[in-house]
């Protein structure tokens, strides 16, 4: 049983908390660092930067990823950019403003101290990346360029064409390569973590399966860092990579780590609409497109099947500009997504099934010329044309919201340590900084802040008390966990049913999209909670997984992930049901203002919901961490 959740937020004024906290954290001397072994699971921006930086400091690091190379982690797909409070544009930006925009963007459901620290560190990240050779966009004078992004009225986003995530991840990968060569980091590609091992209440290792050979291994360490990303693929269709999954964090949850705000998911407004049943994933069109594209649908249903060019200006509804005049097309993601759903629900959507809205560049092309637009977004237009066969310089793009990011994750304190001592969680895998909605260009910022500049300070504080306490991987806790992992694999292979994995996963996804997607209500959530256990049952009695465990077996890999999604989905719906308010991406239909905006309940719900696993028969326990706001004043978010 877990006592009161203690976030360990330092005392003192907001802008001095991190600085004074750092001064009092314990250190580990260089000769002791060599003796300490740290397990890092995940090699994206958070995991990669953490592994490289800890290696640089002299710790022995083991880094695991399921991809065939750390360079392929899903951070690579981030397009738009990374925020920092440099104020290079002289447009009034500051650390405080970045902090305020981020906490407001998250609809006041994140911790003040965490978000302020993130904004403070943002500037260091840009310095670090330039030093490591990231080719950020520049002005003709040779200085760095910026662009604006949703939810902000200043230009603070640094970018490398539409491939910012790629360039940052490759920078990270290169830093990791340097440490691999130096011998401080040992890399385990194509290796998946299947369980967490806890010894005397401390995280002391993991059980892995080699996806190449099927071999199960036990790895002991002095601390475990999870940087395993988000769980958007629970919806089957999302913009996440095919391999992205919840397994590592969910397994840790089942070993006692609290899962916070699992229902907080981000549905991104600008994705290419679904074209048919065959579809295996959705593709994001960077939010940066909303800088120059105008979003609209026909004013009248009758016009929806007409070619867009034949619909005159007066018959178009630029609904974002109409509803949110001060932010217009740059309204935050949750608001823009819901607005798109609303006009489509009214029957004014366009394209197949009328689930789409136009993103139109005609005005921007008239104003700036096609060349400028090509220079800014050329690669995105190419991607769009490849997928849809349409030329967006001539006809407007069609877009629709899709699952993109998950704000929820394992609960961590200010030091990024979960309630399980020695288990640290960073990047998208934790819940910490984005509240109920993440602003654009802040995921890269958070992953890197965690990995480069927070964990390397807070991890030693824990490690200083752990010298000489590493357990042997042959100890009973490891053997127990290993045999459980093996038994689960055998159980999956033994089902030998009739249904394919994808068909079960797709059914789960549709259910969640419908009941726990862009808008939720009590009845729907209860329905989902009744259906999920049946679907899980179907999986364990009727799934068909071919091949065997001791081999390269992609069906088995996916089966394990889907099995975890089938349990995790229930936790999501439970969380969504318990949060009886609307905030950010979590829109409960019962709780809205007369004009259809999210209605928060600060009195009862200004808290983190953290769930504790009990056992497979009983529902999890809910713990609340109240959020205290000392500096900002809670207001209804207005982008009007």
């Amino acid at each position: 049983m877990i006592g009161a959740l203690h976030a360990k937020i330092p005392h003192g004024p907001l802008d001095q908390k991190w600085c004074s906290h750092r001064d009092h954290l314990r250190l580990v001397s260089p000769n002791n660092r060599r003796k300490l072994e740290i397990i890092v699971v995940g090699s994206g921006l958070a995991g990669g930067s953490a592994a490289a930086t800890l290696g640089e400091l002299g710790y022995r690091v083991k880094c695991f990823c399921f991809q065939d190379s750390p360079r392929r982690a899903h951070s690579i797909a981030a397009q738009g950019g990374i925020n920092a409070a440099k104020n290079y544009q002289n447009d009034g930006d500051s650390v405080y403003r970045l902090f305020y925009d981020t906490i407001k963007g998250g609809d006041f459901r994140s911790r003040e101290a965490n978000v302020y620290r993130l904004a403070e560190i943002s500037n260091q990240i840009i310095d670090q990346w330039v030093a490591q050779g990231v080719p950020f966009a520049r002005e003709y004078g040779g200085l760095l360029a910026n662009r604006s992004f949703g939810g902000a009225q200043v230009s603070r986003t640094f970018y490398a064409r539409g491939q910012t995530g790629q360039q940052l991840l490759l920078g990270c990968y290169q830093a990791l390569c340097r440490q691999i060569t130096a011998g401080t980091v040992q890399m385990f590609p194509q290796t998946e973590m299947l369980d967490l091992v806890i010894v005397d209440e401390n995280a002391k290792g993991i059980i892995t399966r080699s996806l190449r050979t099927g071999r199960i291994d036990k790895h002991a360490g002095d601390a475990v860092v999870l940087a395993t990303g988000g769980y958007g693929n629970v919806y089957y269709l999302s913009t996440n990579a095919r391999g992205s999954n919840v397994t590592a964090t969910y397994r840790a949850y089942k070993r006692g780590a609290l899962f916070a705000n699992p229902s907080f998911t981000q549905i991104h407004p600008t994705c290419i609409p679904v074209s048919g049943e065959h579809q295996a994933k959705l593709t994001l069109m960077s939010e940066s497109l909303r800088n120059d594209g105008r979003v609209w649908v026909p004013r009248r249903k009758e016009d929806c099947d007409k070619p867009p060019n034949e619909i005159p200006e007066r018959d178009r509804d630029y609904y974002l500009e109409r509803k949110y005049p001060s932010y217009g097309n740059l309204a935050p993601r949750d608001i823009s997504s819901r607005a798109a759903k609303e006009v489509c629900d009214e029957g004014r959507g366009v394209g197949p099934g009328r689930r789409g809205v136009y993103l139109d560049f005609a005005d921007a092309i008239k104003r700036l010329g096609e060349n400028t637009i090509r220079e800014r977004y050329g690669n995105l237009f190419e991607v769009y044309e490849k997928i849809t066969g349409e030329n967006a310089y001539k006809v407007p793009m069609r877009i629709y919201p899709a699952v993109h990011y998950t704000m929820g994750g394992l609960w961590v304190d200010y030091n990024l340590m979960s309630n399980v001592p020695g288990l640290f969680v960073i990047g998208e895998a934790n819940f910490s900084d984005h509240g109920a909605n993440r602003l654009g260009a802040s995921a890269l910022m958070q992953g890197l802040a965690d990995g480069y500049f927070i964990l390397p300070y807070t991890l030693p504080n824990y490690l200083a008390g752990q010298i000489g306490k590493r357990t042997s991987p042959d100890s009973p806790a490891f053997q127990q966990a290993e045999s459980e992992v093996r038994a689960r694999i055998q159980k999956m292979l033994a089902v030998k049913g009739k249904r394919s994995l994808d068909s079960i996963h797709r059914e789960l996804g549709l259910l969640l999209w419908d009941k726990c997607g862009m808008s939720r209500h009590e009845r729907g959530l209860r329905e989902a909670l009744a259906k999920i256990p049946k679907l899980r049952d179907e999986f364990w009695h009727n799934v068909r997984v071919l091949g065997d465990g001791e081999d390269f077996n992609q069906s088995l890999e996916r089966a394990g992930r889907v099995a975890d999604f089938l349990e995790f989905a229930e936790l999501m719906c439970l969380d969504a049901l318990q949060r009886k308010e609307s905030c950010g991406g979590h829109f409960r239909e019962e709780h809205q203002t007369p004009d259809g905006e999210a209605l928060r309940d600060d009195e009862n719900h200004a808290a983190v919901f953290a769930w504790e696993f009990q056992n497979d028969q009983q529902p999890p326990n809910l713990h609340r961490e109240p959020l205290h706001f000392e500096t900002v004043h809670l207001t209804q978010r207005s982008y009007k």
């Binding site: 065939d68 050779g133 048919g276």
Partner: protein, 251 residues
């Protein structure tokens, strides 16, 4: 649309492989090539046959995981783009399509269409980085970089590390891959201090991994999903020559 597929099946690196015929029916032209393979695998599963192993992850052309040779071309006929960005509307209805892994001496076949590209990681590990310790960086705008240099560096840095260049090359050379990284870093002032050792070591490891030499056939440039110019190979040659001279002069 209907297609006749000839797919490379191989149990593991040791056993021999062969092309196996499969038919797929009623495919929408809006299906991606990999989604078409997903459909094939669903059909195989229903018949109790083991699905075709193939790699993919982001499925939007940026992670570089997918690695198929379609009708003899690395990433298939729709250049520039990775095979995950290839759509069935690019094929004629009823066409026969041959699907093989990237065939490069330095990439072992793991299973069916899945290959092992660790050799590419080793080339980067040899020196494809800038040694900038976290926390030691100067203010980002303290070193202006001409826009032209920075854009050129970005063009080289766009490499997705898929290995199509080596697969298309008759010599199985990874020169375009290596050239892209060497060029990206040496074009930036931050990368200059390590320029000499980087060029020498990366080329040395590239050779030791069993990749062939460049004979200027330009096949690499033709299939590169990131449109990396073969001009960077010339830059690599200059960087290498410069480094070798400097090193032999004891500088």
């Amino acid at each position: 649309m209907n297609f006749q597929l000839k797919v490379w099946r191989q149990k593991n690196a040791q056993s021999p492989g062969k092309l196996v015929d499969y038919g797929v029916q009623d495919i929408s032209p809006n299906t991606s090539f990999l989604e078409m393979l997903d459909i094939l695998n669903e059909n195989l599963l229903r018949r109790g046959e083991e699905p075709v192993a193939f790699d993919s992850d982001c499925r939007e052309g940026i992670c570089g995981t997918c690695s198929l040779t379609v009708n003899g071309e690395a990433h298939g006929p729709d250049h520039p783009g990775a095979v995950c960005e290839l759509y069935m509307r690019k094929f004629r209805d009823g066409a026969t399509i041959t699907v093989e892994p990237f065939r490069v001496g330095a990439f072992a076949i793991v299973k069916d269409l899945v290959i092992d590209r660790i050799a590419l990681d080793r080339i980067v590990q040899a020196g494809g980085f800038i040694s900038a310790r976290a926390g030691s960086a100067p203010e980002a705008n303290s070193t202006p970089i001409p826009k032209h240099d920075s854009e050129l560096a970005m063009e080289a840095a766009a490499c997705i590390g898929c290995g199509a260049c080596a697969a298309a090359c008759p010599n199985g050379s990874a020169m375009l891959f290596t050239a892209a990284k060497v060029s990206h870093l040496s074009l930036l002032p931050q990368g200059r201090p390590e320029r000499v050792t980087r060029a020498l070591k990366m080329v040395q490891v590239m050779d030791s991994q069993g990749f062939g030499n460049c004979t200027n056939t330009y096949e690499c440039e033709a299939v590169c999903p990131a449109e990396i110019s073969a001009g960077f190979i010339a830059k690599l040659n200059r960087e290498y020559a410069r480094a070798a001279v400097q090193r032999s002069a004891g500088e």
